[in-house]
């Protein structure tokens, strides 16, 4: 089997890496997936054979070098294999978000000009069929799960296993051509195209080369000392650059095993069973787990509660320091050991973090309390800072230098620069090739010297050299008084309370700040049950006076802490309301990665914002919602607006304490 290698013998493409792994560590596990209640596993040798068969089948189907092939579905080995098989044929995989609605899907399919679409199951096939009339370029749909598709018209619809079978049969005929195509894949060949989630405007197709992907993966693997013994859990959207780097690029570069959950809903159970050593999760996942631990503790017996709180307090005191390798007294170490036996160990086991060596979080800033909770338990949780355009990695925490309020230092090979407006720029081997069919956007983002604007405002922390990100450049603003307005910072503080799922702060150009809050149905529902508060709907619970009181106390606590910081004292929330519906990506209020879309929310709920600034005690509103099946409806509500206590800025307080 021929594959292009560098003079030093290093494979230069993902398919070449696969062939190397099959040859050098063929018997080691490459992929696992839980199916029918049992973990099935495939070695590198088996994986290579599966991938080659799919690739051969795609050749028979007429896939040409340079073609785009869309992939839609949850993380399953067969879909990962398909991605590599596509690359093997010289074509480019384009993974799509599986929860994208038909319209979003249509845009990406149209824009990428995909000839083939590989869809996981009936649900995804239905979506593709729905948009097919608008997207004429689609020639064939391939699917993995047969279920429910038997009766469909199979003129342009084929089962993936049939493709692989046909491929296997055509081995003699196509192998020479396949090897030839693989051999020409070099560092500058297109590796993958990933669409940005569209936080700002329409999604853009980020083209990454083999060099981008492999160099970045290698740098990360060396930085963390990854070995073939790692286990990762592949559960984040396949369309997200991070999943491509962790579950494909690094897995292939290092040769570790990728584990796929049984279904999206079993993720937590599967996490516990696999016990990954190398793990990535959004702050939301960590936060959700912490919330569920806290809720369980509320219901636990007195003894258990006491044990938990006593040892967690101790862990918060010394756990992080032990992890950072600082000196800690023998007595404290002993007590920490005891705590590990009684509390941390069992807790880590239930969370699925018993074996974890490196845990990453990124995407949104993580609440310092959440971050410290996991570090205290001895989980080496670090922040990552990056974006698709950089092949994910821009900055990160080196071991022993983890600070919850920074995103660490520049990743190996990455250069960082901050311009006079405070915007962060980077240049690295991972810097993307281009935005597909969008040279203007490419030029606007990447200058001639290769510097890329991140759109984030930040600065280097004095004395530490770590980068600290405050907010999006365009979101940082000023109040009418000229004081700084940094919404994300305040929202993150609010979101640490288990009862608050989402917060949106307003105040740019205004006299004072106001906020929308979203309750966390699980946490608040639980709290309501314990306090004998009955409710029939989300809306009723969200508007309950007792809930509003609780929210008010949270807001006032945040205000008090903001008053401590002279820079941000102006961001205190004077009036707020609790929204009658959960902010939802289906309604366009959040991105698919669950980031708040501030402008859309501001225009959609203009009446509510006006009411907040008018001083009215309550406001009636009518909101459009979309159901999961795509239909739309309206909900009406009368919301109570609350006034929160605002504190004078007390810069001296911290020094006095």
């Amino acid at each position: 089997m021929a594959a292009a290698v560098t003079p030093s013998g290093d494979p230069q493409s993902i398919p070449a890496l696969l062939m190397r792994n099959a040859a050098t560590m063929g018997g080691r596990p490459a992929f696992r997936e839980k199916e029918f209640g049992i973990w099935q596993s495939w070695t590198w040798a088996e994986t290579a054979e599966e991938v080659r068969n799919i690739a051969r089948g795609l050749m028979v189907l007429g896939l040409n070098p340079g073609d785009h092939v869309a992939i839609i579905g949850r993380n399953r080995p067969a879909l990962y294999w398909s991605m590599i098989a596509i690359q093997m044929c010289g074509a480019v995989p384009v993974p799509l978000y599986q929860d994208a609605v038909a319209d979003e899907m249509a845009y990406v399919l149209e824009h990428s000009g995909a000839r083939f679409v590989i869809a996981a199951d009936q649900e995804q096939v239905d979506k593709v069929l729905e948009v097919q009339s608008r997207v004429p370029g689609i020639e064939q749909i391939l699917y993995h799960d047969k279920r429910g598709l038997r009766k469909y018209d199979h003129a342009a619809l084929t089962w993936l296993e049939d493709i692989a079978r046909d491929g296997s049969a055509a081995q003699q005929r196509v192998d020479a051509e396949l090897d030839a195509r693989m051999a020409v894949l070099g560092p500058d060949s297109k590796c993958v195209m990933l669409y940005t989630s569209g936080t700002t405007g329409t999604p853009k197709g980020v083209v990454l080369s083999n060099r981008n992907v492999i160099e970045t993966a290698k740098a990360g693997a060396a930085f963390e000392g990854l070995t073939p013994d790692e286990d990762v859990l592949a559960y984040l959207p396949m369309a997200w650059a991070g999943d491509y780097i962790f579950s494909i690029a690094q897995a292939h570069v290092v040769g570790f095993c990728v584990n796929c959950p049984e279904s999206t809903q079993t993720m937590m159970t599967d996490l516990r069973e696999i016990g990954p050593t190398y793990f990535f999760a959004t702050p939301r996942v960590y936060e959700g787990q912490l919330t569920s631990v806290m809720i369980r503790m509320e219901d636990a017996g007195r003894m258990k509660k006491w044990l938990f709180h006593t040892f967690m307090d101790h862990a918060r005191k010394v756990g992080g320091r032990i992890l950072d390798g600082e000196t800690v007294s023998f007595a404290d170490r002993l007590k920490y050991r005891l705590g590990d036996l009684l509390v941390y160990g069992p807790l880590k086991n239930t969370l699925g973090y018993s074996r974890i060596r490196v845990g990453y979080t990124a995407g949104e800033a993580i609440g310092p309390e959440i971050f410290e909770f996991y570090r205290a338990l001895g989980i080496n949780l670090k922040q990552l800072y990056g974006q698709t355009e950089a092949t994910v990695l821009v900055a990160g925490h080196p071991n022993g230098q983890v600070r919850p309020d920074t995103v660490g230092v520049a990743w190996p090979g990455v250069e960082l620069r901050i311009d006079d407006k405070g915007e962060v720029f980077y240049r690295s081997p991972g810097t993307f090739v281009e935005y597909y069919k969008n040279p203007e956007a490419t030029a606007a983002t990447k200058d001639a010297e290769g510097w890329v604007a991140t759109g984030d405002a930040g600065y280097f922390v004095e004395g530490l050299g770590h980068l600290r990100i405050i907010d999006r450049v365009k979101d940082v603003g000023k109040l009418s008084s000229g004081q700084m307005f940094a919404p994300k910072y305040v929202e993150n503080k609010l979101k640490f309370y288990p009862g608050i799922l989402e917060a949106v702060l307003f105040g740019n150009g205004r006299d004072y700040c106001t906020a929308f809050l979203n309750i966390d149905l699980t946490a608040v529902g639980n709290w309501a049950e314990r306090n004998n508060i009955s409710y029939t709907s989300y809306q009723e619970l969200a508007g309950h006076p007792k809930v509003l009181e609780m929210m008010q106390s949270h807001v006032e606590e945040v205000n008090a802490s903001l008053a401590d910081d002279p820079m941000l004292a102006g961001c205190q929330i004077k009036r707020f309301l609790v929204l009658h519906k959960e902010l939802d990506a289906d309604d366009g209020e959040l991105t698919r990665t669950r980031k708040v879309r501030r402008n859309i929310i501001a225009s959609k709920y203009e009446d509510l914002i006006e009411a907040l600034y008018s001083g009215a005690p309550e406001v009636s509103t009518r909101t459009e919602v979309s159901y999961e099946d795509g239909r739309k409806g309206f909900i009406s509500a009368t919301l109570t607006l609350r006034e929160a206590k605002v504190f004078p800025a007390t810069p001296s307080r911290r020094e006095a304490a």
Binding site: F36, G37, R147, E262, S263, Q265, T266, Y627, D629
Partner: protein, 274 residues
Amino acid sequence: MAQAYSTEGWITADGRKIGPVLMEMKNITLRFGGVKAITDISFDIREGEIRAIIGPNGAGKSSMLNVISGFYVPQEGEVWFRGAKRPPMKPYEVARQGIARTFQNIALFEGMSVLDNIMTGRLTMMETNLAQQALWWGKAAREEEEHRAAVERIIDFLEIQHIRKTPVGRLPYGLKKRVELARALAAEPKLLLLDEPMAGMNVEEKEDMCRFILDVNDEFGTTIALIEHDMGVVMDLSDRVVVMDYGKKIGDGPPDDIRSNKAVIDAYLGVSHE
């Protein structure tokens, strides 16, 4: 679309095969004391079809289902199953003949896990005796594994992997309905009876349930008889529909015929039921 009816069955528009008669009800009359719940009703259920029994509340649909599943014994009439007249039977004997059912108000084993619940669906198919089980002889162990594998396929099919180990009592309503369907499926029934499978569900759950019913029929070729008072759902789902009102049959035929049937329209819209 007009269908060519024959005793041997026919092929539906979407390519499914409807076979010969599986179960036939002949002139069934059921009384509770002086009250007639069912009056002289006859109809048949064919292999591979989805057969709906619809009617307004109190029309006698549930009574009919209970007659089929052996919970009620009719005073008059005959029940024919797989070409033979069925003597009066206890519900458990009917179940062992290959007729599985679900209940309108869900009858699950609340204290047991989802997995255990579904496993009970296979109780009648287990063959090893107590002594073999006690010693966990090869056959007993193998049998347990086979049944477990079959149950896992159903769990996968109905997408309830995430609640495999959860006690049923803790599940929300919609999932309980799905678990009950899973338990009935586990028995690999020749005839699956669904008692208002969509009752009390929201639109989304109803759509899911519809998909599951169609998929069960499609993938396993299971004959399904379901009762429902919501006409809309049934019309998209079923091959043939029996309409009942006040214990009498007022219509029987493919959904399109039923939709235009005068008596049916009256029963649902025109004539009040007080």
